[in-house]
């Protein structure tokens, strides 16, 4: 009935290492210690009115044991850990469906290993149906179904119409076997079974550690044959729960929807794809380039202030004098320069010294002109001419006579490349000068850096 997934132990005893199993094993180790005869939690039978409550211990017993035996210092942490373990069903309050730990006289009981989450695969709705059916057969007031249980039973009855005979039969058989048991044992087992279902089909509104509920379980078995009866009714109680999201109505997709899906997937297929080798290459290149800048991988010089509490590094960074390594980084690309505030400052200074602002603005304007639509070009050419080159221009730039003459001609019949000569004139000598200048400036020893910068600028 239950789905046999890869959880639990194989017959060779090798434990499954899925994350859930690891957590379960940790909890089970604590439980094993709790259940030790000598140093564990004292389990006793409590006499109450005319009955005996077997095999219980109190919430405060648990908390005290935890504080004494685990590395726990305060009550809050013990309660938290205990509540987590209870939510997974390793122990449970005997008279409450809500699985939390309280530091008081509330009675708790251990869960039998059969019902541990590590040993019991996710139970299916068939098992739940058998259980609920069995409950209705055992006529005891305390075993009466709660509202949400009765609803689930009705729903399951509709869903499992064909199987219902078997479910009923099995429930009967289980009830009969149950009756043969010793009365005390029966009490214990009943409570354990109920606690198990409190974990896997929790009371609406409770934390659901298993993340499966009656609807999801129905879906898992028949992914495409979702029965209307199970989804037709939106269970109001369930939608009030903060942890449950109402399942979407399952319906057949229409032709348009299918067409849309087809087009979508075809588009996805046509998407530009990169070769993995290229991607890997670029990732490797990036990592190699930046490895010395990552403080996790390369300890910073002189020391990492977060570790050594020595703030020399930060003081150095804050000063206006950038170190060699930092400058080297600027050579990676214009973004690096602009990211670093000191870099920005230096760059601006550099630009100002080499490209006085009119030159830079002219250069940028011409670049922009080249991208304009052709109908706007004549007007823009005129504007640029007026601003930068005409006699008495507000931001006059300095070009040689030859370029100037050429440009004057071009302006009469304006095209995108009217200012090409002038632009080159401004640009080229600057480049040479930049290189020589860089030797004396903070770009010392890294002429490549400035070259890259200027080439970047030209591509703007």
């Amino acid at each position: 009935m239950a789905q046999t997934n890869s959880g639990g132990q194989g017959t060779n005893g090798v434990a499954d290492e899925s994350p859930n199993m690891i957590v379960y094993r940790k909890m089970e180790e604590v439980i094993a210690r709790m259940q030790e005869e000598k140093n564990g939690i004292p389990i006793r039978t409590v006499k109450s009115f005319l009955t005996k409550i077997p095999s219980v211990f109190s919430g405060s017993d648990i908390v005290q044991w935890m504080i004494k035996n685990l590395d726990i210092e305060d009550q809050v942490e013990a309660l938290h850990l205990g509540t987590l373990m209870a939510a997974h069903g390793y122990f449970f309050p005997i008279s409450d469906h809500v699985l939390t730990l309280k530091d008081d006289g509330t009675f708790y009981r251990f869960q039998t290993p059969y019902f541990w989450p590590s040993n019991c695969w996710e139970p299916e709705n068939t098992d739940y149906a058998v259980y609920l059916c069995k409950r209705t057969m055992q006529n005891k007031a305390r075993l009466e179904l709660a509202d949400y249980e009765a609803e689930s039973l009705a729903r399951l009855q509709r869903a499992f119409a064909r199987k219902w005979e078997f479910i009923f039969m099995q429930a009967e058989a289980q009830a009969k076997v149950d009756k043969k048991r010793d009365k005390i044992e029966r009490k214990i087992l009943d409570s354990q079974e109920r606690a198990f279902w409190d974990v896997h089909r929790p009371v609406p509104g409770c934390v659901n550690t298993t993340e499966v509920d009656i609807k999801k379980s129905s879906r898992m078995k028949n992914p495409h044959k979702t029965r209307k009866s199970v989804y037709g009714l939106q269970n109001d109680i369930r939608t009030h729960s903060p942890t449950h999201t109402p399942a979407p109505e399952a319906k057949q997709p229409t032709e348009e929807e299918l067409q849309e899906q087809i087009t979508f997937w075809q588009l996805q297929l046509d998407r530009h794809r990169l070769k993995m080798s290229k991607v890997a290459e670029s990732l490797l290149g990036y990592t190699e380039q930046y490895v010395e800048y990552d403080p996790f991988l390369t300890p910073p010089d002189p020391s990492n202030p977060w570790i050594s509490d020595d703030t020399t590094l930060w003081e150095l960074e804050a000063s206006k004098e950038p170190g060699q390594q930092r400058v080297k980084r600027w050579a990676f690309g214009i973004d690096e320069v602009l990211k670093d505030p000191v870099g920005r400052e230096q760059f601006l200074k550099f630009l100002e010294s080499e490209f006085s602002s009119e030159n830079l603005r002219f250069w940028l304007a011409v670049q922009e002109l080249k991208k304009r639509p052709i109908r706007e070009v004549p007007a823009r050419v005129q504007e640029i001419w007026q601003e930068f080159l005409a006699p008495g221009a507000p931001s006059a730039i300095n070009v040689d006579s030859k370029s100037y003459a050429k440009t004057t001609q071009n302006v009469k019949d304006p095209g995108r490349y009217a200012f090409e000569d002038a632009q080159e004139h401004i640009y080229k000598p600057r480049r040479r000068r930049v290189r020589t200048c860089s030797e004396g400036s903070c770009f010392q020893g890294k002429p490549l850096a400035s070259k890259r910068l200027t080439s970047r600028l030209s591509s703007c």
């Binding site: 009935m1 046999t4 059969y114």
Partner: protein, 218 residues
């Protein structure tokens, strides 16, 4: 073939042969129907008994690992229940196969038989699952034993008068542990074997199932 354990009488299949051959076809048809009804009744009973055994087995599996339960005797009980269950399952499958095989001439399969098929299938599925769980639990128990009992409970007391250390008397001496583990291991193998057999049976049942049921999935 099922024998003593289920205690039901084996009815001869060839019920028609005890009547004189001169009997009319109508009467023969009557006999066939009656015998088929009896066969169906028998099948129903077998399936029910199998169902009860599965419930019993489940109960026993739950007791594994409980502190109070005594493991060796419990495992013996489980073995017993399991064997009975397997033979029940085989018998039920055999009977159902016969009934559906010697199907009614008009080709219509009575709903009774369909229901029996479903019941048997569900019972078998549950049986297999419970066996799987029992294997799992026994395996865990074995591991626990290995871990907690790794330190031999041996008390070395040096008697002043002798140089030989005296082992303290215990109800289960250290030599029992490896044997116990071996027994559990054997049990697990047995369960695995039974499980395989039941799984085969289940697939055979699915094949033998009347067509309308098969198409309904599940």
């Amino acid at each position: 073939m099922c024998s003593a354990p289920c205690g039901r009488k084996k009815r001869p299949r060839s019920a028609g042969s005890i009547f004189p051959i001169s009997r009319g076809a109508q009467a023969a048809e009557q006999e066939r129907r009656e015998s088929r009804e009896e066969a169906v009744d028998d099948s129903r009973m077998t399936v029910q008994e199998f169902n009860t055994l599965v419930a019993l087995y489940r109960e026993q599996v739950i007791s594994i690992g409980e502190i109070s339960a005594d493991c060796p005797s419990l495992r013996v009980q489980m073995h017993h229940t399991r064997s009975k269950g397997c033979s029940m399952a085989r018998a039920a499958h055999h009977d159902l196969a016969l009934i559906s095989g010697s199907g009614p001439e008009d080709g219509e399969i009575p709903p009774e038989i369909c229901r029996l098929f479903i019941q048997l299938q569900c019972c078998l599925e549950m049986f297999v699952t419970e066996m799987l769980k029992s294997m799992c639990l026994l395996g865990v128990l074995q591991l626990h034993r290995k871990r907690t009992d790794s330190e031999p409970k041996v008390d070395f007391r040096m008697d002043e008068s002798s140089d030989v250390p005296i082992l303290e008397e215990r109800s289960s001496s250290p030599t029992d542990f490896p044997q116990e583990q071996w027994l559990v291991g054997t049990d697990i193998e047995n369960i695995e074997r039974d499980m395989r057999e039941m799984r085969n049976l289940l697939s055979k049942l699915r094949d033998a199932m009347p067509l309308p049921l098969k198409n309904q999935g599940e």
